[in-house]
């Protein structure tokens, strides 16, 4: 079919009309697809100018734009590929149905000015060894991310603490992204339409985290007929069904997952229980090429219980005998294309969070922390082309979290006097209500003039929590200059604020006066496009962190006299490093990358000397390679190498006769030689995939072996009661997982 497209000076499609029609449905799909297309802009005397072009779109049998082949825009998530299209050339051909089905992308990028960009295709995201086919776990192999113990699913990004990197699903924060026990993501990977990873300098559309952001945009798998998929492996099972309706205008997707650790663990360990599960229900409907709505309900729970195995007798592994996380969310979203190329998006979110910890250690009083949080959020954004070169994005972002907590903790230690053995027998029972309110407004201007792309944003957050009411301002900017077809230079800088976690605000046992944490992040880098489908990226970064929270035993002046201050916010930190990514894009079944980070992260509290951050890792190397041998077989390997995290050297220990326990005396802070590191971590994972047909099912079997040569890594030290001896807390041993996936189309 033939189209006439009106392009702006940045190559975006402002308007499209059909010159040669096929049929109404196909016309509408193709017109919708053109909204995501990008072209190199026309030029006049070296300046980019708007233009009108004729464009022939060739449709092949099986093309996803043929009616009912794909209810969604096949180019969604492909914007970067489209950006790479040659000047005045049409975009690359649409993906084949196989490539497009379940397409998910992970990127390190920015929404408008792209500080750093990396787009991975579905095949790359689901076949990386050691990730169990989880796209979200691929993030852990990218530059800027330190290795975390046991793949627990939190991210230490560019030297910031794990709670400073936020997880978002469809623009709203969620408390966890992964299940316990090196588990999968809390939503089906089939529903992950796009994964954006911002290691720093994230755009003003996001807020409330002082380091990075991992954002999942969900989308149902495109299908023109009922779709059924199941997955079974050694540790869990999941199933998903999608049904289109109204000739593909709408679809309904349902997914569930359940682990069976609770059946397996009793065979291996006494008194330890673990289970998790999640569900998703999603409905999408497209009213027209301009208007689309979705309703997404999802939830997750994790439960870990070792209350029947207490009394280990060690000093460092006797806490949290029961742990529960759970959350439920409903997100409604409406996207509307306004005349003139403007886009309006409104989304609302309601949800419930449940968190519980309890401790049942002998000799200590039973402790419990339980909280139910009610979450309410709204987002409104409008993106308007405001000139030939400018695009303006305006938005409002409101989030309210109200928590009812039920807390049973030992009474905080009194001031002066003599402490009791282990813990105070006096229990403090609290039922506080903690409310965190954040009202944010933001504006972002994006200027694209020839090879220069400048994005400047400003976000204003009104934060109300605990005893704090404040307004924080976060200006951010990114400059990208395409110096040559093969070279881009990117500079970015910005401020970021984060309110303290709610459990640190409980009056009486924590500190409701903590001020927001703040960071100033800057980066500069190069992006190179090399021959043989190889691209490279080199980024240097520097971050300053302020108002970091530390535990404290300080006695300070309070309204009633001296009082103990269990948490203080006087910490400072800085992190700097160099990130390198060399990647071969997927072609002829072969893909791979080398990711290397050289970094240093430091902290200082009060007037103490600077010391390395607890997760500081000087070198982090990830090498991933995967090769599709033929239509049936794919093999791959991933190698990780990371410097061990620092631990303070224990100088001596003494027996506290009043507390009946030993206390460690650490070597002086900040003094050379008084910090040691855990041994260097290294691990090789391999994966083999085999595809075959089984009746009406497309089947895929895989064997994913973590730590194939069974490296005896050390994740931490466990100390004897008197600190006289220690043993290694081992990393994950060799762990083979056999899985099977079946898809009925």
């Amino acid at each position: 079919m033939r189209l006439e497209l009106r392009l702006d000076a940045e190559g975006r499609v402002l308007d499209a009309r059909v010159i040669q029609s096929l049929d109404v449905e196909t016309d509408e799909r193709v017109l919708q697809a053109t909204r995501s297309m990008r072209f190199a802009p026309a030029e006049r005397q070296g300046r980019a100018v708007p233009s009108v072009i004729r464009f022939r779109y060739r449709l092949q049998p099986g093309d996803p734009l043929i009616p009912f082949a794909m209810p969604e825009n096949p180019f969604a998530g492909q914007a970067d590929a489209l950006l790479a299209a040659g000047r005045g050339q049409p975009p690359p051909p649409p993906p084949t149905p196989d490539e497009a089905a379940g397409e998910a992308t992970v990127r390190t990028r920015r929404l408008a000015g792209a500080a750093t960009t990396m787009t991975l295709r579905a095949e790359e995201l689901t076949t990386v060894p050691g990730t169990f086919g989880e796209p979200t776990r691929v993030v852990a192999t990218l530059p800027g991310v330190a290795r975390t113990p046991f793949g627990l699913g939190f991210f230490v990004v560019r030297g910031a603490s794990f709670e400073n990197t936020g997880f978002f699903i469809d623009g709203f924060p969620v408390p966890v992204l992964y299940h316990f026990g090196a588990g999968p993501a809390v939503i089906s990977s089939r529903l992950v339409g796009q994964l954006d990873f911002y290691p720093g300098g994230y755009p003003v559309q996001f807020g409330r985290f002082s380091a990075g952001v991992i954002s999942l945009e969900t989308r149902p798998p495109p299908t023109d007929r009922p779709f059924l998929e199941f997955q079974v492996d050694t540790l869990r099972a999941s199933a998903m069904a999608v049904a289109p309706f109204d000739h593909g205008r709408g679809s309904l997707a349902v997914a569930v997952r359940r682990s069976y650790y609770d059946l397996l663990l009793p065979l291996l360990v006494d008194g330890v229980g673990l289970e998790y599960g999640d569900y998703q229900v999603r409905a999408d409907y497209r009213f027209s090429a301009r208007s689309r709505v979705s309703l997404f309900a999802f939830g997750s729970y994790d439960r870990f219980d070792r209350s029947a195995a207490v009394g280990s007798g060690t000093t460092t592994a006797e806490q949290n005998t029961e742990l529960e996380y759970g959350f439920h969310r409903i997100i409604g979203r409406w996207d509307y294309g306004l005349p003139g190329g403007a886009q309006l998006s409104f989304a609302a979110n309601v949800g419930v969070d449940d968190t519980g910890f309890s401790s049942l250690n002998p000799g200590s009083p039973d402790q419990r922390f339980a909280a139910r949080g009610y979450v309410l959020g709204e987002r409104l954004s409008v993106r308007v082309p405001t000139g030939r070169l400018l695009t303006t994005t305006l938005g409002l972002d409101v989030l309210t979290v109200s928590l009812d907590a039920d807390i049973r903790v030992p009474l905080p230690a009194s001031i002066g006097g003599v402490p009791a053995p282990v813990t105070s027998p006096d229990i403090l029972s609290l039922r506080p209500r903690i409310t965190q309110l954040s009202l944010a407004a933001y504006v972002e201007e994006s200027l694209r003039a020839g090879p220069v792309e400048l994005t400047a944003g400003f976000r204003l957050d009104r934060l109300i929590y605990g005893n704090v009411q404040t307004v924080v301002a976060d200006p951010r900017a990114t400059l990208r200059v395409r110096a040559a077809r093969w070279l881009s230079v990117v500079l970015a800088s910005g401020f970021f604020h984060q309110q303290p976690p709610f459990f640190q605000l409980v009056p009486g046992v924590r500190n409701p006066n903590l001020v927001p944490q703040r960071s100033w992040q800057s980066s500069a880098g190069f992006e190179l496009t090399l021959p043989a489908k190889v691209e490279a990226r080199l980024t240097g970064y520097y971050s300053e962190m302020y108002n970091l929270i530390r535990t404290s035993n300080d006695v300070v002046a309070g309204p009633n006299g001296p009082q103990r201050n269990p948490l203080a916010d006087d910490g400072r930190g800085r992190a700097y490093g160099l990130e390198v990514l060399i990647r071969r894009k997927l072609e002829r079944g072969l893909y791979g990358w080398v990711s290397y980070t050289l970094s240093r992260s430091e902290r200082t509290y009060q007037d103490r000397p600077v010391e390395p951050f607890a997760f500081d890792q000087t070198h982090v190397l990830n090498v991933a390679l995967s090769w599709e041998i033929n239509a049936r077989w794919r093999v791959g390997a991933r190698f990780q190498l990371a410097t061990g995290s620092p631990r303070r050297v224990i100088d001596t220990a003494y027996y506290d006769a009043d507390r009946d326990r030993f206390a460690a005396v650490f070597a002086g802070r900040g003094v050379a030689g008084n910090t040691e590191r855990l041994p260097t971590y290294h691990q090789l994972d391999v994966r083999v995939d085999y595809r075959f047909r089984w009746g009406p099912f497309d089947m895929s079997a895989y064997l994913d072996i973590i730590n194939v040569y069974n490296a005896q890594n050390v994740e931490n030290w466990l100390y004897q009661y008197d600190f006289a001896r220690r043993v290694a807390f081992p990393g994950i041993p060799i762990l083979p997982t056999l899985g099977l996936t079946g898809t009925l189309r």
Binding site: P149, F150, V269, T314, T316, I415, A420, D658, D660, A663
Partner: protein
Amino acid sequence: MRALFFAAAALCAGCIDDLDPKQIITAARVVDVIAEPPEVRPGEPSRLSAVLAGAEGEATYRWSLCPVTDLGALGSGASASTGDCFTDGAALLPLSSDAEATLLVPESVIAQATEAARRFEGALPPGALETYLRDVGIALSVVLEVQVDGRTLRALKRVVVSLNPAPNRNPPPPRVRFGARWVSADPTRPGLCVAEDGAALSFGPGETVTLTPDPDERWAERYTVLTADGRFAVRDEQAYYSWYATGGSLNGLTRSPLRDNQWTLPGRVGSRSGHSLWILLRDGHGGSSGCRVDVSLAR
């Protein structure tokens, strides 16, 4: 997220098998330091003695006073912790090189503590400091270093100096029922507890003995604390029982009202036909007492 880390740690149950359990004495160890009395007025003495378990050779002692209190370092008021008493630069005041030491609290301590509390001046309500010095008192840190069997043992004990008209007293030595027989302090041999019926205590290898402390806790006193949020409050002492044995298995700490413990004796007689159990009773307020019980394993 820290909780996640501990959750993962819990799965590593086998990792700790190589570590010695706290409650089993395999080498010389200080299991308590008793101050008699645990609370004194300025100018009054307190006698300190260590309960040493598992020592085979002769021990040498070094007692010192560490000028660190919870309100800060005495004299300067600078923020400090008891751990600072064990660093190389700690300014310790020698007290004694004998098995026991006498702490004669100088009159000037109250004045120094008052000076240390001056950093809160302006935040203190009228009379608060006087109430603190009278009812709560200043906990002085006494440091003990013991050389025995080629090892250096370090311990810390607090002695409270106050103007309290009814200062804290140590609880009486523990009285515990071993199965059906009561065991209490031997008046002729300090530090030892024996069966009240006068017969030796003997159990079979692998036998589990229920240890039931005397529920009579009328010795428990009331005392005043300055709470973490800066208010004065009255608390009741509690009984904390610490248990250490040369063999077998048992819990390390029990607390009223769940005072009972169970001691499973070693399953084989082995090279030693007798075992010792140390029972320490603390009031949670600096007062403590204790004794050793010797039992034999019947072949």
